[in-house]
């Protein structure tokens, strides 16, 4: 297959970027999308040009490091698939493919297609955990979890933190990410003690990072490689209402956001 690639190139966060066009002439349908970029990069290096920088690691669809807007869709055309698991047989000979980084203010561009997603880490640090220090746990089977609850917790916990939800959302909202973590923990008996405070603290940091508000558009869930449901957002909103009725305020100092 032969493809024409329009790729976003940007030296760093301070320099304006632009699209550059490259020809990919030896594309096998068995290649993954990232392997296709590897091959383009090998050619660029030998031609004395700088290769295209992009994030990736496990290449098995689980680490959440890869990203890319492919023809305007986060992680490309296949449903429930990360970019690293997208294969070139999803494209046709002669196609033009546009490749961009995640675009959202709280994900500043580092270089080319690489962005800074540390805002996600700070949301988790604000409260996305159960406070259970090592050594304090009772025997595992003293805590019973009804199977349907365990399954729902697992559905939400499958989030890989890739940021596709934010990139796809017209508002640049991180609600699906935050809600997935809140739901994972709130479906479990172990997560009840901190449930409402957790919601308040995580959302406080999320807002501070500059993510937009959720207006129930649903692009997030549509592009999510792990098919996290928007039900989690409704659940987080309910927890926030209860927290408001309880008069809960954030109990942690906000961490400094990188963007802005």
């Amino acid at each position: 297959m032969k493809l024409t690639l329009k790729v976003w190139r940007q030296k760093n966060g301070k320099t304006p970027g632009e699209f550059k066009t490259y020809q990919a002439d030896h594309v096998s349908p068995d290649m993954s999308f990232l392997e296709m970029l590897d091959v383009v990069n090998q050619d660029l290096i030998l031609k004395g040009e700088e290769p295209i920088a992009f994030d990736h690691d496990c290449r098995e669809g689980i680490c959440g490091m890869c990203s890319l807007m492919i023809n305007g869709v986060a992680h490309g055309p296949k449903q429930a698939t990360t970019t690293c698991q997208l294969h070139m047989r999803s494209f046709n000979d002669g196609d033009t493919v546009t490749i961009e980084p995640w675009r959202a203010m709280p994900f500043p561009i580092i270089k080319d297609l690489v962005v800074d997603r540390s805002s996600f880490d700070r949301i988790i640090q604000a409260g996305g955990f159960i406070s259970a220090s090592t050594g304090s746990a009772p025997d595992a089977n003293t805590i019973q979890v009804p199977k349907p609850d365990a399954d729902k917790a697992m559905d939400a916990a499958a989030c890989i933190g890739c940021g596709a939800c934010v990139a796809a959302c017209p508002n640049g909202s991180a609600m699906l990410f935050t809600a997935a973590k809140a739901a994972h923990l709130s479906f479990l008996p172990q997560g009840q003690a901190e449930r409402h405070q957790r919601a308040v603290n995580m959302v406080m940091q999320q807002d501070l990072e500059g993510f937009g508000n959720c207006t129930n558009i649903g692009e997030c869930s549509a592009v999510c490689p792990k098919e996290i449901s928007m039900d989690t957002i409704a659940r987080l909103n309910r927890d926030l209402i209860v927290a408001t009725l309880k008069g809960l305020e954030p109990t942690v100092e906000p961490a400094a956001a990188k963007a802005s």
Binding site: N12, S28, D30, M31, L34, E35, D38, I45, L46, G48, E50, P51, D55, H56, D57, C58, R59, E60, I62, C63, M65, K78, T81, Q85, H87, I110, K111, V114, D116, R117, S118, F120, D121, I124, Q125, G128, I130, A132, S133, T134, G135, A137, D139, A140, N141, Q144, V145, P146, K147, A150, A153, M154, A157, I160, G161, L185, F187, L188, Q190, V252
Partner: protein
């Protein structure tokens, strides 16, 4: 460590003289079930008020590193944690699918701490230290408790209690799991505990930061040199103790199931600074991976070996048979595992399944592109159980296979081939997980570990968390209690020298401007190792590799092209540094494989096999850990031996007939 210099002629003749020293494992004596308790009591403690005066560096944020950093932070130490990914949540522990073993005996089916210990020592082909393995089995039960408390969503039964399954041919059901994402969920548990400590200010996290060297002052590990992968800045970090939890070195083979960024740099730089490297030739091959499709292949994808519970493995009897597998009649198929191993059939251990696949492919009977594949056929299972049942059991794996290959495994047999998956070897550590450098601890896959010559399924996650949550917090504290905190600044000459070396190296890599890419060297190294030091090894092949690797290394430093600059995000520069280290480690791997003329576990020497082609151990000559010391000459490392004594599990020949 006590040294006795024994001059002997090597068995292989690679070196003229072999220096034999005995390593002190500091494993306590007495009844094995009391050793860890006794040791814990005897270890020294640091007063809670004094803990914040001690700084501990933890490199790596996977199960071992993340758990250690979080726990040391909870205890009040001042922790600095480093990872090369953009977030600690992405460490490669995340990719483990199957599960985590623990001797809970919740199934009432005969499991016990002693049985898990026994299975691990035996499965490791009697090349692990008994005291360590027993401790691992003991703390396995605490790991499950801790993870449940953190909110790890393990699979449950309808009564709400934890579910278990049997894994990797184990006779008991001791594996806990969270769908096919157990590694991810355990890692998120550790990551969330770590995040809590970051917020509390006890842990400072350095993502997108790579450790490039270890700094020793007065023979003690006192810090590291890092590169900020975004700005390119080389930085110095000082500490009272350093923990390396940087994973395995499987990517030395280029193609492996490891994440692309996994590398050996941290442990290799520590090795060059004096940490001994234990059993580098013990590498594990996983039999059920998706085969290579072409030269563009960048990594291999593993599918859970649970597939072998229902899939039947076969190849055509005829060489070069390219018919559609469904058109090949039953009597022209060779179900070679079922024929050769009637008792275990398709469920023989990983190493046996892998070697047999290689053998039939070497005979020219492999299937798929390049003839490097065998069929894993579910047609009979679908006939017997129905498509729905198979979809329930393996649906996500079948989907993954179809996504990657474009073939529907419900209709056409899967094609599988073995791939490098795990490395049992790593830096040598004593019972306290301390390396031969005082103050340098090594945990998880990065140490030479508790798995001997072969790791059992669902035991990697167990070891990583055991080291991180329940071993290091005691043993690091014991070390710290015996040293004064601080008293050193990064202005010390040792930091300056190490930093200067790194700057020179970066400058040199950027200035070669040769004609070959970093990847092309990495691929070639991987090819050499896979051919000569992969599933089967022999004297002549290893000698060929030992000839070829130094030549390739030489060419690398003359002819590699690394574009861009040092003071920015430069992924080619990152790769170049890692490949330069792999080119050195590859040689040690082959030296170790050449010296160990026995077969054991994942190390199969063709010269050492039984009449029917199975691995033959040589306990009389090789019942030891080979710990290699860097001498400044890569071709001539010094061998030290830690003898292995088996008081509880009597070595026996593994048989799966």
């Amino acid at each position: 460590m006590s040294d006795t210099k024994n001059e002997t002629t090597t068995r292989t003749g690679v070196r003229a003289v072999e220096f034999v020293k005995s390593l002190d494992a500091k494993a306590p004596g007495g009844p094995i079930e009391q050793r860890w308790d006794k040791h814990r009591f005897e270890m020294k403690l640091v007063n809670p008020a004094n803990r914040r005066r001690y700084t501990v560096i933890v490199v790596g944020s996977g199960l071992a590193g993340g758990a250690a950093a979080a726990t040391l932070g909870e205890q009040g130490y001042n922790v600095k944690c480093f990872c090369y990914q953009d977030s600690p949540r992405r460490a490669h522990s995340i990719a483990a699918q199957g599960g985590i073993n623990a001797a809970k005996n919740y199934r009432n089916d005969g499991d016990s701490i002693f049985r898990l210990f026994y299975d691990t020592v035996k499965g490791g082909d009697f090349r692990a230290r008994e005291s360590n393995v027993y401790r691992l089995a003991q703390v396995s039960v605490n790991i499950i408790d801790q993870c449940v408390a953190q909110g790890v969503p393990f699979a449950r039964e309808y009564g709400g209690y934890l579910d278990n399954r049997s894994f990797g041919g184990a006779q008991v059901s001791r594996t806990f799991y969270a769908r096919g994402q157990t590694g991810q969920q355990l890692l998120l548990g550790a990551y969330q505990a770590l995040s809590r400590q970051i917020a509390a200010g006890t842990v400072k996290m350095f993502p997108r930061t790579e450790m490039l060297d270890l700094v020793l002052v007065d023979g003690r590990a006192r810090g590291i040199i890092t590169r900020d992968m975004v700005t390119g800045k080389i930085e110095r970090h000082v500490a009272d103790a350093v923990v390396l939890a940087t994973g395995g070195y499987g990517n030395v083979f280029y193609l492996s199931t490891n994440a692309k960024g996994c590398n050996t740099t941290a442990i290799w730089r520590a090795h060059r600074r004096g940490a001994f490297f234990g059993n580098p030739c013990f590498t594990q091959i996983h039999p059920t991976c998706i085969p290579v499709t072409g030269d563009h292949q960048s990594k291999l994808t593993l599918m859970s070996e649970s597939l072998r519970n229902d899939g039947r493995i076969w190849v055509p009897r005829k060489k070069g048979d390219t018919r559609d597998p469904r058109q090949i009649p039953e009597n022209e198929r060779d179900y070679y595992l079922e024929e050769r191993y009637p008792a275990f059939g398709n469920l023989v251990p990983r190493d046996v399944a892998s070697r047999n696949a290689k053998q039939v492919c070497d005979e020219g009977r492999g299937v798929g592109p390049g003839g490097l594949g065998v069929y894993l056929d579910f047609a009979d299972a679908i006939k017997r159980l129905g498509k729905q049942k198979i979809a329930e059991r393996y649906g996500n794996l079948f989907d993954m296979y179809q996504q990657i290959t474009g073939e529907n495994p419900y209709e056409v047999p899967m094609r599988i081939y073995p791939a490098i998956h795990y490395t049992m070897g790593g830096l040598w550590v004593d019972y306290n997980l301390m390396s031969t450098i005082p103050g340098l601890f090594v945990a998880g896959e990065a140490n030479f570990s508790d798995h001997g010559a072969n790791r059992l399924g669902a035991s990697a996650l167990m070891q990583g968390l055991a080291d991180g949550y329940f071993v290091l917090p005691y043993t690091v504290a014991n070390f710290l209690a015996q040293v004064k905190p601080g008293g050193l600044s990064t202005d010390h000459a040792a930091f300056g020298e190490a930093e200067a070396e790194i700057n020179d190296r970066v400058k040199r890599l950027l200035s070669i401007n040769g004609k070959r890419t970093v990847d092309s060297f990495h691929r070639e190294l991987g090819r050499i190792l896979w051919d000569e030091c992969g599933m089967a090894r022999n004297d002549a092949g290893l000698r060929r590799a030992l000839q070829r690797i130094p030549e390739l290394r030489e060419e690398f430093w003359q002819n590699v092209r690394v574009p861009g600059e040092g003071g920015e995000l430069n992924q080619e520069l990152e790769k170049a540094g890692r490949v330069a280290d792999f080119l050195e480690l590859g040689e040690l791997l082959c030296i170790d494989a050449l010296h160990r003329t026995e077969s054991c576990g994942g190390h199969f020497r063709e010269e050492s096999q039984t009449e029917d082609g199975e691995a033959k151990r040589d306990d009389e000559n090789f019942s030891y850990v080979a710990a290699w010391e860097y001498t400044g000459n890569l071709a001539r490392p010094e061998l030290h031996k830690e003898p292995l004594v088996f008081e509880y599990v009597k070595p026996s020949q593994r048989s799966y007939k």
